[in-house]
């Protein structure tokens, strides 16, 4: 479903040139739970960003669902992200001045054809799914780390995306909460055959996924 062909990413400043990714070839199948591992600075987050259309490769092609993404313009890429991708970050990135319900509804704001009522309904449903519907009018500052991440997952899932990209989702959580989050991710992966790509440091979590890719210095290693 996702194919990265000959991806290179070079960061150029006026003084230094850093090769973050070098000749990366990856193919991800539909419904696969893929984990990417490697030490800090090896380029795994860069890879995730490229897959998530948040960054453009210096050279190479990204094809998702037979669509050549690298050739899409800003607006088209935004639309694609909105309809097909969901993101989960290590530090949640919830908007502090909106309550939980509003935070979860965010992705739907950019989808045309939904009324306000429909959006709220969907948000309530997804919060139910992650077990936080009793907190939907609270502010993010009133929730614990684990709860925040669950809200973030709800936000990522509300648009019914085909692909979920998670960047060290349990990095800021303790082991108990981390397990809860992983359970949720597995749930989403199995229920609707969604593709999940996760960057992680945790060997244990990686073992529970379908496949693990290791990276070192921008290159894939076996």
């Amino acid at each position: 479903m996702i194919t990265l062909e000959n991806i290179n990413k070079v960061y150029r400043t006026s003084e230094i040139e850093t090769q973050a990714l070098e000749n990366v070839h990856i193919h991800v199948n539909k419904g696969e739970f893929l984990s990417i591992m490697g030490p800090s600075g090896c380029g795994k987050s860069t890879l995730l960003n490229i897959m998530g259309l948040l960054d453009t490769p210096t050279s190479g092609e990204l094809i998702i669902d037979n669509v050549n993404i690298t050739s899409l313009g800003d607006k088209a890429a935004a639309k694609f992200r909105n309809q097909n991708l969901g993101f989960i970050f290590q530090s949640f990135h919830l908007i502090h001045s909106l309550n939980i319900l509003d935070n979860v509804e965010l992705p739907l704001l950019y989808r045309k054809g939904l009324s306000s009522k429909e959006r709220t309904e969907k948000a309530k449903a997804i919060l139910e799914k992650v077990g936080l519907s009793h907190r939907m009018h609270h502010m993010p500052t009133q929730l614990s780390g684990g709860q925040c991440q669950r809200v973030a997952i709800a936000r990522a899932m509300i648009g019914d995306p085909k692909i979920l990209l998670a960047d060290e989702p349990t990095g800021n959580l303790d082991s108990k909460m981390g397990t809860e989050i992983m359970d949720l991710l597995h749930q989403f992966n199995e229920e609707d055959n969604r593709t999940v790509i996760m960057v992680t440091h945790n060997e244990l979590q990686a073992k529970q996924t379908d496949r693990t890719i290791r990276f070192f210095d921008g290159r894939q290693i076996k």
Binding site: G41, N49, L54, D55, D74, L85, I95, P107, Y110, R111
Partner: protein, 419 residues
């Protein structure tokens, strides 16, 4: 989307207090400035009660040399000036010509008197003070096309028999009697005793930038003029010969005309030695007011520039503090344009929140009588309010756009990543 915006603004109200205060103050200042400007503009377009188109002020010189020790002989002056005016009147290029003493329009003379209706008893009299008085005869009224309140020329209504009449303006009449049906009533307050009212004239103003003044014309006789000229001389600066040409003339045209008609314009011992356009005289009087306006415009511009800097800075900070959020929104699938638009809506909405207080302030301003005393208050207020809001909106949009321009150079990936 609006719901989210409203929620956010409500939730952030404490943090944004200073922004609200700043916007409120700036909006208030802008509104007062626009109101001031509009008022001046309105005032300057109101009729002044005198038509000075194609009008010139002529000065009189003495064509006979006198030694310093000799006291000049003024006895011939009145006859001479009358003859000169008669000659000039007959020229094809001339519309009208007349002589007044110290009363030409836009002179810096603002002598005024107090008057009241003679029939009012001592206890009942409605004294009108500060009435601007102009001593005109028929000729001068023809030059300046003075009109009565029905729009008819006053010059035609002055009887041939020389007598002193009073022609108060509409505002004076209303103050004295409450209505304008006071023709033939006697008015007191003059050195020469009570005088009858001949007609009511349209309102006059002293300068283009001041309100309507209570005024009146005193119709003077030949005897008045000749007496003055005999004692002061026709070359006195108080003697003002007012000329209306049929066509528009430039200064050079006028000098050419004077040169061409040397015979017309001189009768011993006098001659016409200069012509100054009334539009120049008017500009001289208005200069003070125009300068005041210019100074105020400068001050307000300074304030606006500072305000803009403040608003720019504030919005810049808000945008840069939200970098992570911007990255997130881009990840979620919002386009850059959409995000900028959202920020603009947010800024404008915050502006909207300050409006109730501004409306209260405007109301206070109106009721304490700061606005002009014209009948119309509603339309000017609406115009100035709309203009002020548009200006503020532009300031805010400018602030957001400039801050967005550089913040958006970043990639979403950079801001979202914690490393």
């Amino acid at each position: 989307m609006w719901k989210q915006l409203l929620h956010r603004i409500y939730n952030e109200r404490k943090q944004n207090t200073w922004l609200y205060v700043e916007l409120l103050i700036v909006l208030a200042i802008i509104w007062v400035a626009f109101n001031d400007l509009y008022k001046s503009y309105q005032l300057s377009t109101l009729p002044t009660g005198t038509n000075i188109e194609n009008c010139w002020r002529l000065r009189i010189g003495r064509s006979v040399s006198t030694s310093i020790d000799e006291h000049p002989d003024f006895s011939q002056d009145y006859a001479a000036i009358t003859q000169i005016m008669k000659n000039i009147r007959q020229d094809n290029a001339v519309d009208a010509i007349g002589l007044t003493v110290n009363s030409m329009p836009y002179s810096s003379n603002n002598s005024n008197i107090s008057m009241y209706l003679a029939k009012d008893s001592l206890n009942n009299k409605k004294y009108v003070h500060g009435v601007l008085i102009r001593y005109y005869n028929k000729d001068v009224m023809r030059v300046f096309r003075c009109k009565d309140i029905h729009g008819r020329p006053l010059a035609d209504q002055i009887p041939a028999i020389e007598k002193h009449y009073i022609i108060p303006t509409k505002s004076t009449a209303l103050k004295m009697a409450g209505h304008t049906n006071i023709i033939d009533t006697l008015v007191t307050g003059f050195d020469n005793g009570p005088m009858p009212i001949l007609q009511i004239a349209e309102n006059i103003r002293y300068s283009d930038y001041e309100e309507v003044m209570d005024g009146c014309y005193e119709v003077i006789t030949e005897k008045d003029l000749s007496e003055f000229i005999e004692s002061e001389g026709a070359t006195s600066n108080s003697v003002q010969v007012c000329l209306r040409m049929k066509q528009h003339m430039t200064q050079q045209d006028m000098e050419n005309w004077l040169n061409k008609n040397k015979a017309l314009i001189s009768t011993s011992p006098l001659y016409i030695n200069s012509a100054t356009s009334f539009s120049l005289i008017k500009a001289g009087l208005n200069e003070y007011f125009v300068r005041q306006i210019k100074q105020r415009v400068f001050l307000v511009s300074f304030l606006l520039v500072c305000a803009f800097l403040g608003i720019l800075g504030t919005f810049w900070l808000r945008t840069s503090q939200r970098r992570k959020e911007i990255g997130l929104l881009m990840a979620i699938g919002s386009s850059k344009a959409h995000i900028i638009l959202n920020f603009i809506y947010e800024g404008l909405f915050i502006l909207l929140c300050t409006l109730p207080l501004i409306i209260l302030y405007i109301g206070y301003y109106i009721t304490t009588g700061h606005l002009s005393s014209h009948e119309e208050i509603v339309i000017p207020t609406i115009i100035t309010s709309v203009l002020s809001i548009i200006t503020m909106s532009l300031l805010i949009i400018g602030g957001v756009l400039i801050s967005a321009w550089s913040t958006f150079k970043i990639q979403a990936a950079e801001v979202l990543h914690d490393e």
